[in-house]
Amino acid sequence: MADRTFHGTGATPRSGLGTVVWYDPEVTLPDPEDVTVDGDTESEQFAAAVETARAELEAERAATADRVGEDEAAVFDAHIQFLEDPTIEDAVETGIADGLPAANAVDDAFGEHIEQFEGMDGRMAERADDLRDVRDRLLRVLTDGERVNLGQVPEGSVVLAERLTPSDTAQLDPDTVAGFATVTGGRTSHAAIFAGSLALPAVVGVGDALDDVAEGTEVVVDGDDGTLLVGPDEDEREAAAADTGVAVVDEAVETTDGHHVEVAANVGRPEELSAAADRGADGVGLFRTEFLFLDRESPPSEDEQYEAVCEALDTFSDGRVVVRTLDIGGDKRIPYLDLPEEENPFLGERGIRRSLDPDSDLFATQLRALMRAAADGAGELNVMFPLVATVEELEAALDAVDSAAADLDDRGVAYETPSLGVMIETPSAVFVADELAARVDFLSIGTNDLTQYVMAADRENERVGDLHDPVHPGVLRAIRHTVERAHAEDAWVGMCGEMAGDPDLTELLVGLGLDELSMSAVTTPEVKTEVSQTEYSTASERADRARHAATRSAAQSTIRDT
């Protein structure tokens, strides 16, 4: 056991072992009472600091464009404009004229605007972060920058920080840093997304307790469990050191006895597409469309959705992209859609239930965008409907596809009807899998929701966490039932829950007959490697034993240690 364990949110299912380097961009301002200020000198220092900061921003912009992507780099263009803002310059000069040292004048000049932006909503509030980032950079240059240069931390460092901004992460070299942990931030924070796209071990949102971890301490960052282990024991050190990741496999994979399994990536934002391709994914097994609808005041247009889907299809020009139609409700809220307050949102109006009724216009727009993209994008588009419980719902969704086709005919726009599928997440869908499969081309099992509903165990409730495990025989039998009924109807079956991305379960899933496994891009190399080391005939026998087991522990004991 480690001396102490801190809990946060894991950003990548990877572990790293290293030595703590604290990163603290805060600087101490001089006390204006204590210093004699020469206005001209301070003005010159300010001008020189702006110059230096600008050169840094340009260098970091280039490094980010190169390492991560042009979209991520664009934030630096905004920072350069904030840096050179005439309002700031005037306010700093006024401050200096009033007798302040340049650093204090800069702090005051930015402070007022940071407060102003902090008081605004959503997108505007994020600008406060940009201003803070620019201010801290200027102050560091002015006070002679004693902060750690993140680009030059020793190999094997684990960086700990209050938070990491785009300017900070731009300097991190993923080849030398062993991982990082931050006090603030959630799964969608800039730092978490950055870690995910580079497969860097990271835990965010640890809270103020992180301050107790001393510089130079040996720690394990476990992005899988979302923990930071201080003073890890021998086993924990070895496990983390062994998790160096496996080589990316770009080719399609099959088992040792020639059974092909597609290994695809789950994608929730456009910037994850290139990362998925870089990690060797064959295609996209779950393209979530909610990002198009979040952080804005009104729904996206048909053209905007069309462009986003075309981008995905062009990234995987030889592969398949499975798009899930809008899946809101439950825990996913969108302000302008006026979602009802429900006693049990997970058992309420969500997924296809909303798309068929209150949101039928949104659904029609989305279907038209998808069908146009199917004709124009390079890859093969597949579309699936979330949270289907009944054949009636599926038939209504298929009718909506026909209406969208008729609308596009009327408009004389080019379109194609994509291959269609159903997500299997409800017990009802499992029981009528044969009826559903007879009406579509494929089924895709969403194991997070399927486990929650089969086991009647809230996935967010830790008190029933033991029940929320897809290795319970009840869940394994539901999966196998779905596969058998679908194959009998010549439909293929994929899986896009977290279970699909666990390399320890790959043999079991191949044995249960899944044709496709789709996961967070980080683990695609591990899963591809597992598939190519699996013997299909042996895997099928083991999987039969697992699902016929009476208990979870008996099922677990059939799973080969990897």
């Binding site: 263009d77 905004a78 404009q81 050179e84 605004m120 997108r123 505007m124 600008r127 996206p300 462009e307």
Partner: protein, 92 residues
């Protein structure tokens, strides 16, 4: 002699981030004083990223631009171009 123009914003990010950076950079490239604001509101200094960002102008909103100086027409032409180009086509 000042010239003015009203433009409807095309980039989906509105006048934020990348489009805003391009907008402010263009203003400062020309010999002209430019102010901007939503029709009916006060105008702010268009060469200030902070001022432009705090206008909170979104996709589909109208923006009134007023320019004064030797490059007044030229700067308005370029600004109109930036404000009517979808973000993904905007070169950085």
């Amino acid at each position: 002699m000042s010239v003015e123009r009203t433009v409807t914003i095309v980039p989906e990010a509105g006048l934020h981030a990348r489009p805003a950076a391009a907008f402010v950079e263009a203003v400062n490239d020309y010999e002209a004083e430019v102010t901007a604001g939503q029709p009916g509101d006060d105008l702010v200094q268009a060469g200030s990223m902070i001022a432009v960002t705090s206008l909170g102008v979104g996709e589909g909103d109208e923006l009134r631009l007023v320019a004064d100086g030797p490059d007044a027409e030229a700067v308005l032409d370029e600004l109109e171009d930036i404000l009517t180009t979808p973000e993904e086509e905007l070169s950085a």
